[in-house]
Symmetry: C2
Subunit: 221 residues, 2 copies
């Protein structure tokens, strides 16, 4: 119905396609996503898309790139310490993930080499180095931080888009300790939980830096 009469330039370009693809995945999920459905959404023939994007794999790349670009860059302001930068970046990442839960698996799965991602990492490691952290600790930091972020967010977001917790009622007699701890896991997916775990990760980095006997100003914010 909305399909263009043949030949008229429908104003298709990579950006418009990516935006529509993100919207479609947000709505119907990754499983249901496909070239044909996307074409329908755009009111366009499936094959038209191939003139701008090479194939489905490239389409998925475009989606994750577009979503990643939404991550608010953590204050370019260099006056913040590395922990501040790391925390801001992590929270921005989390918020974007929550905004596009269905897309997130793509982010966690694909190696991110886009300029935005690299620029963010560069800012972080630079700040860490200036704070005097040992080089090896700084070199490991991106993997440590984003490994944790991706794994944690994946776990949290896999629990259905609805709202029900993902914990499937633990049997108290066979797993007594876990059952006893269950109440403390009430805020599953909450910012508070995120902050606690993020704090643990950053604390671990700081701790390792101290142990390795880094530069001058290892302690403090």
């Amino acid at each position: 119905m909305a399909r263009r009469t043949q030949g008229t330039s429908a104003g298709l370009d990579r950006e418009r396609i990516a935006a529509a693809a993100v919207a479609l995945v947000d709505r119907d999920g990754l499983e249901r996503f496909g070239v044909r459905r996307l074409a329908d959404e755009l009111g366009v023939d499936p094959m038209s898309i191939y003139h701008h994007i090479k194939g489905k794999a490239a389409l998925l790349d475009a989606i994750s790139e577009a979503v990643l670009a939404e991550v608010a860059p953590a204050a370019h302001d260099a006056s913040h310490g590395w922990q501040e930068i790391a925390s801001r970046t992590a929270h921005a990442y989390r918020e974007t993930a929550y905004r596009h839960p269905q897309v997130f698996p793509l982010l966690a799965t694909r190696a991110q080499t886009s300029p935005v991602a690299l620029a963010a990492l560069e800012r972080l490691v630079t700040a860490m180095r200036e704070a005097g952290l040992p080089d090896q600790v700084v070199a490991d930091a991106p993997m440590t931080l984003f490994g944790f972020l991706n794994g944690y967010l994946m776990a949290v977001l896999s629990g259905g888009s609805g709202g029900g917790g993902a914990m499937p009622a633990i049997d108290a007699t066979t797993y007594p300790t876990m059952a006893a701890l269950a109440p403390l896991q009430a805020g599953f997916g909450s910012v508070e939980e995120f902050d606690r775990i993020l704090g643990t990760a950053l604390g671990g980095i700081l701790d390792r830096a101290r142990a390795a006997g880094g530069g001058h100003d290892v302690r403090s914010v």
Copy 2:
């Protein structure tokens, strides 16, 4: 050719199917995996599989369950401290992941509720609690640890099954710090790297326990 003549009981059951599925994914990858190919492999009609497993989703569940069962249970011996248990479990998990790199995305994506997984967690949290760590720290530990494990292993294993590093040559002029640190990321995917990052995570947990002023014996192995 290997196809059974119709009707003979081919001795199909959930276990045999899962084993063949794992082998198939190991060989051809997740993308190429499908019900029909699996049926071919088993010398069986595609529809036969549906008599033992409800659909493709359930098939993927069976795969990840089978692989997870391979994880060597960390010494049931209760004489070890929680850090020992955590470390052993993490290494066993890593080894299984490396044995089935193509399957791993399934493990990281799906919420694990199988008895083996829960039993392992129960052992860990029990040991942590006995060591006197604060309840909230213990409650967060599984997410912290497995979040990190899944995220890190996902990143490492996504770099093609071959052996080439995943780092795509960083431009030294636009990202000077990262370029300077590149040599220190040489052993990408190595046990040493894994140990460093695992140590950071465990250190973070210990640190947080100390800060929260836990029970009696917070310090030490």
